[in-house]
Symmetry: C2
Subunit: 269 residues, 2 copies
């Protein structure tokens, strides 16, 4: 027993930490590299819903799931385990680099300034984000310059969100709005839509994509004049067209929505 303890190296060889994106949810849209990391992982860290979505896991794999609010705690736990030599995967839905766990891991890594954490073999594996999945189902609303904006004011002031919406509107960008609404943030989306209505015509196409790529998928093509906040919850991504975004009839019902590749000269607009 003492022998065994003595033979243990004083600081173990660092392990691997892969921050992965599951994509929209359908296994056929998840990158094979992500599937491979999940298969090789010893520890799987993430928000319960996403860990469940990434599974099932083998009995020799350990899942460390937790509430969605403690992103920094999860990031630190994952770095600590990897520094101890474990093969760790941090699970995000969509793309881990877009309003997800890659940023929290970066923040934790920089703040801790721990040599053992810095030595971890750290990889970020991208995934298809919610706006891309919804856009693909709707046609091609993101076919020209666009912004992705989170409406969550948990970590940024609402004034900054309004400033971004205003400049996105003035620049005539298509916008994909993430985290549009939740029980704790009931008024933000209505205020954002009111702001956008000052710059864009009522006929501007709007796409609502809820759980796109999952069994309960819902896709709605509507307009800025007609959309109302109660159609939207936290699992919905809202795409608001530019002044050029168009809709046309789709065989079988509904509409195709796309933003042309061209932009008229100022004189011809």
């Amino acid at each position: 027993m003492e022998q065994a303890l003595q033979s243990q190296p004083p600081s173990p060889r660092p392990g691997r930490l892969a921050v992965i994106g599951l994509g929209p949810g359908a296994p056929e849209l998840m990158a094979p590299a992500v599937r491979d990391e999940l298969d090789r992982a010893q520890d799987i860290v993430g928000y319960t819903t996403y860990v469940r979505m990434a599974g099932p896991f083998r009995p020799d794999q350990r899942t460390l799931d937790s509430d969605n609010r403690c992103e920094m705690d999860r990031a630190r736990l994952a770095l600590r385990l990897a520094a101890e030599g474990r093969h760790v995967v941090v699970v995000s839905s969509g793309d881990p680099g877009i309003f997800a766990m890659a940023t929290a891991v970066m923040e934790a890594l920089e703040q801790a300034d721990e040599p053992a954490w810095r030595a971890v073999d750290l990889a970020i594996l991208p995934g298809i984000s919610a706006a891309q999945a919804a856009a693909a189902r709707a046609g091609a609303p993101l076919g020209h310059d666009f912004c992705i904006i989170s409406l969550s004011d948990n970590l940024k002031p609402w004034s900054q969100i309004e400033r971004r919406l205003e400049h996105a509107a003035l620049g005539d960008f298509v916008m994909a709005l993430y985290n549009p609404s939740s029980k704790a943030r009931p008024w933000q989306l209505g205020q954002a839509l009111d702001l956008l209505r000052r710059y864009r015509a009522p006929a501007t196409p709007v796409v609502l994509g809820r759980d796109v790529g999952r069994p309960a998928e819902q896709l709605t093509a509507t307009t800025l004049g007609e959309v109302w906040p109660e159609q939207v919850d936290m699992r919905t991504v809202v795409i608001v067209g530019s002044s050029l975004t168009r809709q046309f009839r789709r065989d079988g019902g509904g509409a195709w929505v796309y933003t042309p590749r061209w932009y008229p000269e100022a004189e011809g607009a």
Copy 2:
């Protein structure tokens, strides 16, 4: 023989058209659904480089590759073949919905207003776009609100591109610049960087991702003050940080780049 000809229906049953995204180039980042469409396709339509990247194909599969400039011709060809009953795949790199073929197919479909084209089983399958692949290698520069802007003025006036860059800068968005430079468009990137330097500090992190996810991958973390246009060609995506984007030392050389999840209150900024 005559029997066989007579038994052919006057208008064939419409086929399928899948507009797919190969992702950055590495097979392990391509969605299994895309691999499946490529395996099932009878006709593969696309720019030569991307068709080659999507292959190899079986002898019974037909590749119809062409020069990159005739996007609308390719879109119409694909719709016509699918309307004739073929199983057609249109190949884009990255995400077909982001400055790629999905928009051209939508434009062709709306303009032609052909009932047989409208009856085609049309699906758009998303992929991981160049900015996502470069961001994942760099850390998490797209971890907060961001824009994707094409610097190509082939189909839009340069004045509109400048307007978008200005509003993206005023809104303090991270920016990913697509099509930053080519032999036919040598001065645009320099002018864009000069414009951004009026709004952002010289220390603002800039990431250059060239051929990320392909064998010749090059990733450069630099700053707005130090980047020069000659470092960039048409196969490079340029990510310019917001006022909050940070870099820190990476073990093994280079830097990690990320944009924090939070934004300071106006008073504390």
